[in-house]
Symmetry: C2
């Protein structure tokens, strides 16, 4: 049987795509692969396919509507001039034909690969100039240099748009013999810059190390630059005194197994929910074709992009601005979750497929974990006359993936719940980005979290992409506000009335959160009406009113991240428009083809196939408590049914008392269950 | 040994307080008790006591600083004229002396008691006029009247300030023989009003039942007023089709027991946290003297008040405005948590003591539950060079209580965590307040959630009271904002800089949330400095920027709830100032002695003993999904250390892999653990 159109490419399909491309680029060229992954089918085809699928007749006849299996292939062609030319192609892996081919112009840069990071490390080793610069510092005995590759950020205005990488430099204490000793505690004030084409270090930026009042360039590069830095270990065997001893286990047991079912490594069914999950190198986990009790809710949901601009005014720190999805691929950076302790309970892992530079596919194991969890009380009512309490739990199904980007990590989760809600959660953790600061000084650019270590102020701004399908593909977005009403003898005689106003969004564009008006966005199906309320069926969300990008208008940081200009965007659907900051973010000079441009088309968006984008984030002025590894900061966006159902969809969740819960001192009894 | 000063009064102490009062009011009077509970000691005495306690020398000498054990006693004196006179007294239960006595003026009303509710039900039965009014309706066969007592809300301007109660009327289907059949689905358009002194029904308000465009008074009181209403059952045995069958148990097991320890039924120690928990009839659970690792964080933390004003413009609905703490006492309405399924895992319950109208004390069992829970990943870092992932969980200790107020419930929790955070959570659930609406109509005043049932728009606004003690009692509040900075060659050459501004709050007053500026409030100790950052040690919170009260200025709803005018208030500490909306909220005409008045003193609040108040809430325009019992809406306020510690306090949390978690299909293996 043919794979479902949303299923990720198999090892075999990936290999076919590779072979097709190799067969088309013969002669004296090298093909360096970057990514091969599923090119999702055009929506027009998928609509037909899904209609058949949900009516129980997928692929039923020779004239079936099954879309082609397509691979997106991203690769460099390197000819005799050694100048790589970046290509993107779409290959039909069934007919083994290249359906589309695009040579990307030099103004854009392909996403980085981990082997490019390795090139930087090697280039540093080979650079005499860099070695000389490092030798100016006398590292403590047993300390060794660590170069941490970063994307280059936005080019300075007027600079030649070659492909660069930059390295942040630290020193690692090897005296403890532990390769996980935390080197971030020992920052060195140098940034080597590599030209990715020549693989040469072309410049070494010397970093300011001053404090308040020292201006933009003050450097006190004493020989003993690390002597005032102190260790900051987080691996348990290196923590002074070890880990705490009174932390007793909490075990999540599901003796009857989980309530979910996974088939075909992609179809998930749980508590009336039914959806497909896929994974790609850029966005990580994606939900497709989300239904509740046979009714369509979402066509596709993903985290589309994020940007992390740093606010340290001293050059070259304006170039610290990561796009963690577009620059290197969130999916590429996904953790193998079975290696940690990332979920509790009964867990289903999903694998992905990645390729090396030779295009050879291999399994990227356990990149998504799926599990159920309890989130406290779901609904409760006690009849005070009879004393009868009926209480149910809020059960969630969690689709989680975690990415590591050098020092930092994000935990992303889609949480579907028994009350018909979908919550999108981002947790920020990992190690904050730090630079060296002179002894005893403090800074306007961040917080000194440990001696000699300045954690720079920065923002994280996420963009979620929601392609809704509320009881069908044609939807409308409106926002509803609650407003105080004027006193009026006829309409508000006692001053207690407030007015609920609805505003339909007619043209694609951006709009902000407005908690002071209780602004709620509703994605409605204008053709379906709730039988009780008479309102159109909808899902609603209240965008978190988090601070928008602070970088100045016209700055390189702002130009690259125009998607941050509004909390909510509504655009008209077009195939392949998946990325809030545009297809190419690495070293971009302006957001091109991102949500800002899509919105600017001013398309009609009422009763159309639309996409809703939500940007939210965190202005992160680090605390000392964020060091060495920061406790999670948690962000949540809640999508909830609003007159979508004819009653509380959790009304039939059992209120059975949990038999395993016990009083203190009776733990023994629970164990027997 | 004498009880700890924060420990609730024992049964015996309560009885002594009662006896002292009875002995003082002899002769031809009746003493009707309302409440007897701990009068917390003056802070000046407690500071001395706690200093000794934390230095390991409590009550060490005859000159020890142990404060007296005091009972607050609230009671009516009913003389021969039958007019109750409301009294409040403070009794020293050791010396058996009344230390303070206050006769409360008629302009204020004592909190209601449940037996006053019963009086309303009886008065309705005895009222000919009411019985006649009810008889105008032909209830379906087997349906019986239910009168739901409510506080009267705010008096109409100019009305005589007698003590009233109102009753909302419904009909219950008794054909199913189930006393928990949901009567709220059958609302009757009458509100009887009782004079609490005469216990007579003095008026019957006839409710409008019209829809949009019908104006304020349209009533279609047909004889068959309930015929278009339909059943809305939530007790499992009455749900058509029963509860879902594929919901498998999640068991939370703690084979080694919990990590917390409770001694003296009040002292809780867990993961470096140490605090006392108490319970009183008005606020429910209260945390006292919260320390982390021997350092003081909070002197007292509670939910102080909430108000629920309704926005239906049609009289008398402006009088639907509950103050769920001040009107009847959240503690009084607390659920017995062992009856439900309110916590999972290993649970410790706490009891309270309540009195009947005769002052006789009895145990109010299981009003607080204490348990540990897992809240996902706490911190994680993967060293991509070595592949080593270190991941810890975010463990929380939950102090929870749940209140039922007629149709509605709130789940309140204080959650202390392994990262030094304290989260205050409110979950709103229960049954939304509804009125009858004519067939086929919709309304500007709410949403039709079921045939004939209009759920009225309303707000919930909570006030949390935080009496901080950041490394000592004298603290200062500042708010920190992040602002875009102008381009400037010297200070912002690349436009990426943003400025962090600090504003100290010098005088008591109110200030709002400002998420657009990332406004964060820090409660600092100006005398203690973080060794790394040089900043004063602090705890911070970002007030949820929820919509404030919408009722018009000067309206009775607004005048009674002036505490809702700002998200954050800072006031100077005074003993006994615990209530955001003032001591007396029942039938109040204006907030008296609440946080608005406290703030208006314009006290100096830098480096002083201060109190911080946070108001937050929900504009609740009901969804159909909120019917019949609404899924929880969750509100959280996070208090987090900000340069309070010298590193992440969770750095030493073990990263041990949980041995009970298993792959799908391997559940059997986990069971053996």
């Amino acid at each position: 049987m043919a794979p479902h159109p949303f299923k990720i490419l198999s090892i075999e399909e990936t290999r076919i795509a590779r072979d097709v491309i190799l067969s088309l680029h013969t002669g004296n060229v090298v093909v360096d692969f970057r990514e091969i992954y599923l090119q999702e089918p055009n929506k027009a085809l998928m609509k037909q396919y899904l209609e058949l699928e949900h009516s129980g007749r997928p692929g039923q006849s020779p004239h079936s509507k099954r879309p082609p299996r397509l691979a997106k292939v991203q690769y460099d062609i390197i000819g005799s001039d050694k100048v790589p030319e970046y290509n993107e192609a779409v290959v039909d892996v069934e007919t083994r034909k290249r359906m589309k081919h695009e040579v990307i112009g030099k103004e854009f840069h392909a996403s980085l690969t981990l082997w490019e990071f390795q090139h930087l490390v090697e280039a540093c080793k080979e650079s005499e100039e860099f070695q000389k610069a490092i030798a100016e510092f006398k590292l403590p005995d047993g300390f060794e240099l660590v170069v941490e590759p970063w994307p280059y950020g936005g080019l300075d205005i007027g600079a030649e748009n070659r492909r660069y990488f930059q390295g942040l430099c630290f020193a690692q204490n090897t005296n403890n013999g532990n390769p996980d000793s935390n080197f971030y505690a020992y920052p060195l004030p140098l940034i080597p810059v590599m030209d990715a084409h020549t693989r040469k270090i072309v410049r070494i930026d010397r970093l300011a190390t001053g404090g308040k009042g020292d201006g933009l360039t003050a450097k006190t590069h004493s020989e003993r630059i690390l002597d005032h830095c102190t260790s900051a270990e987080y691996v348990p065997e290196l923590i002074p005194g070890g880990t705490r001893k009174d932390y007793k286990p909490i075990n999540i047991m599901q003796p009857d197994g989980p309530s979910f079912k996974v088939t075909d490594e992609s179809l998930v069914e749980w508590q009336k929910w039914r959806f497909r999950v896929s994974f790609n190198p850029r966005e990580g986990a994606v939900l497709h074709d989300v239904h509740y009790d046979g009714r369509s809710v979402v066509y596709r949901m993903s985290i589309s992009e994020m940007t992390v601009p740093y606010a340290d005014a001293r050059p070259p720190f304006h170039r610290k601005q990561a796009f963690d999805f577009g620059d290197g691929g969130a999916g590429n950076c996904a953790n193998n979750l079975s290696l940690g302790c990332d979920c509790l309970g009964v867990i289903k892992y999903f694998d992905a497929v990645i390729v090396g530079s030779d295009g050879a596919p291999k399994v990227h194991p356990n990149v998504i974990c799926l599990h159920e969890q309890d989130n406290g009380i779901g609904w409760k009512h006690t009849n005070w006359r009879t004393g009868r309490a009926v209480v149910t739990r809020l059960r969630e199904l969690v689709v989680q993936f975690i990415i590591t980007l050098a020092n930092y990590e994000y935990v992303f989760a889609f949480k579907l719940d028994t009350a018909g809600g979908i919550m999108l959660e981002a947790r920020a953790t990992g190690i904050v980005s730090v630079v060296n600061i002179d002894p005893g000084k403090t800074s306007d650019y961040g917080n000194v979290v440990s001696s000699g270590v300045l954690a720079q102020n920065h923002q994280h701004i996420f963009a979620a992409r929601i392609d809704p399908a509320i009881d069908g593909h044609n939807n409308t977005v409106l926002y509803e506000e609650s407003h105080a009403a004027p006193w009026d003898k006829e309409t508000n005689p006692n001053g207690n009335f407030y007015e609920v106003r609805k505003n339909i969004i007619n043209r694609s564009g951006g709009i902000d959160a407005a908690p002071e008006h209780n602004r709620v966005f509703k994605i409605i199906n204008p053709h379906k009406t709730n039988p009780h309320s008479g309102n159109p069926v909808s899902y609603k969300f209240m965008p978190p009113p988090t601070q928008k990008l602070l970088a100045a208008p016209g700055s390189i940081q702002e130009q690259r991240a125009l998607f941050t200009k509004h909390h909510v965007w509504v655009t008209k659907y077009r195939d392949d428009e998946l990325y809030a900051a545009g297809r190419f973010t690495l070293q971009s000079q302006r957001e091109v083809g991102g949500v800002y441009d899509m919105a600017n088309r001013k398309d009609e968006v009422t009763d159309e196939d639309i996409v809703v984008w939500n940007t939210f984030g965190l202005t992160h002025n680090p605390r000392v408590e964020d060091w060495p590894v920061m406790p999670v900061d948690i962000f949540q966006v809640h999508f909830k049914p609003a007159d979508f159902f004819d009653k509380n969809p959790a009304n039939d969740v059992p209120s059975t008392k949990n038999q395993a819960s016990v009083l203190v001192g009776k733990e023994c009894c629970a164990e027997k269950l």
